[in-house]
């Protein structure tokens, strides 16, 4: 419940950012550099005199938007591979699962780091790096569920009725894995946000002056002793967003997929 409210608030802020933000997030003000909070700048300003609150509000678009988009791509690829490998089986299954094994041999950050390193720092490349690494978890879970369903009566019935494999996968198997996918995707959205902002924090993701939260933290590093607000608020924003999505994920798991409850 609390989680839903938090997530809903963040989404509203992200959508309505241009109307909510009191200032332009990239407008430089030489008269107000590292200013303390005031009635004009509620959370103070950064080293270039930019309004921190406005940057945070616009940052919701970048940080959440990237995480949602990456999540959508990850789910699409992972679920497709999982369903196909699980239903078709045989050599195709073997090949796909060996690929999954190899990708799982790395901790996710190592490979994502290397992909971003080769492509060059940018938020787009961070997203590609995350997608390239994270789909494997879904592929493995969904393949497991699909293998379990392959011999069930409703699938056999569909096959006997002459349904082609793509139709069985899309119409009969997919709807059965949707609850698990939703739970998994919400539970992982938080970690995804943390990973994306971590790479931005290392300077590999969104580039200045983009008000992405991880990038804001990276910008604030040089000034954090003099002006801690530069680091405290963006970190707080990330933490709240992650807490929200973790709580929603836990709630959804209890409702949709009690088997996953540990």
């Amino acid at each position: 419940m609390i989680g839903t409210i938090i997530v809903a608030l963040f989404i509203i802020v992200a959508i309505a950012a241009p109307f909510l933000a009191p200032h332009d997030p990239t407008a430089v003000d030489a008269r107000a550099i590292l200013a303390a909070p005031s009635s004009e700048h509620w959370l103070g300003t950064d080293n270039l005199g930019r309004d921190i609150l406005s940057r945070l509000i616009h940052g919701a678009r970048w940080t959440l938007g990237t995480a949602f988009l990456a999540s959508a791509l990850i789910v699409t690829i992972g679920v497709t591979v999982g369903l196909v490998a699980g239903y078709v089986g045989g050599l195709l299954d073997d090949i796909l699962m060996r690929v999954v094994d190899i990708l799982l041999a790395f901790p996710s950050l190592v490979l994502a780091l290397a992909i971003v390193g080769m492509l060059g720092p940018s938020l787009m490349n961070v997203m590609l790096g995350m997608v390239a690494v994270w789909w494997v978890d879904y592929a493995r879970v969904i393949r497991g569920l699909t293998v379990g369903m392959r011999e069930r009566e409703f699938v056999t019935a569909a096959r006997c009725a002459g349904a082609p494999a793509p139709r069985i996968i899309a119409r009969h198997l997919l709807p059965n894995v949707v609850p698990s996918v939703i739970v998994l995707a919400t539970l992982e959205l938080g970690s995804l946000m943390l990973a994306i902002s971590a790479l931005s924090f290392l300077g590999l993701g969104a580039q200045p002056p983009t008000p992405e939260w991880g990038t804001m933290l990276n910008d604030g590093r040089a000034f954090f002793q003099r002006a801690p607000q530069l680091m405290i608020y963006p970190g707080l924003a990330i933490t709240l967003a992650v807490i929200g999505s973790n709580l929603v994920g836990d709630g959804l798991r209890d409702v949709l997929d009690p088997r996953m409850k540990r």
């Binding site: 041999a105 190592v110 080769m118 002793q225 992650v242």
Partner: protein, 312 residues
Amino acid sequence: MARYLLRRLLYLLPVWLGISFVAFALSNLTPGDPARLMLQRQLARQPTAEEVAQARLDLGLDAPFAVRYVRWLGDAVTGDLGESYRTGEPVLTALITRFPITLQIAVLGVLGALAIALPLGMLAAVWRNSPVDHVSRVLALLGASMPNYWVAYLLILLFAVQLRVLPVAGRGTWQHMVLPSVTLGLAASASLMRLTRSEMLEALGQDFVRTGRAKGLRPATVVVGHALRNAMIPVVTVAGLRFAGLLGGAVIVETIFAWPGIGKFVVDSIFDRDYPVIQGFVVFMGSVFLLINLAVDLSYAWLDPRVRLGGS
């Protein structure tokens, strides 16, 4: 045991080949021509078209992808991962000399995680649904939700800047190790704490705990000496598995606390477009993880004969 070891090693071979292939294929993602890039560095000017063509020939870049992969693989198995564009040192040497620092950070992280998770998880189980339990639940949620690089700066602000009891960054004394290990340990401790709690709850319901209580042992002896010892087995296993992830996650802590480990080296290499280092990092870390997984499997086999005899 020897046969089991052999079987495991044979299984690792294709996975390692896959890792090497991923590392090699990654280098083909780089925007621009590697030969031109190398010449630009060496000559410090724009190379002519003939120079680029000659360099491509010298580097063997004209060969098809598969041929280049096999050549590269031949070098890689003999420990030749190329040279760093930036420092000129062999990539493998550069990674190996920096690895102990990363290893130290990961060990500190695991120890930090256990130091937080074991006592809190234990107390949360003993006093179930008490304030301690609720606090541990909130801590677990926070630990899993806070970006660890942000936590690092909050800790620096509090302990190094305000209280001045710990150094801001660097390494050398034990004081330098406290903040990195807490930073890394906090995130890893969240799930370990919940695991300790649930394992403790199960252990506390066992017969040997009742026996211990019945024969008049002190409650602390029963809880710590009997229940916790049994609950620790799965917790330590998971902590061991987390260790591999912490090696990869050390990048951030190395950057913040200025520890010259592998992660910091790679991030610097990324900004410098030092591709051989990035490629070598993938092969090196991939190999390290395979060895860690092998070690974990072997320790199970050593502890439990059913594992090593099963399936043979």
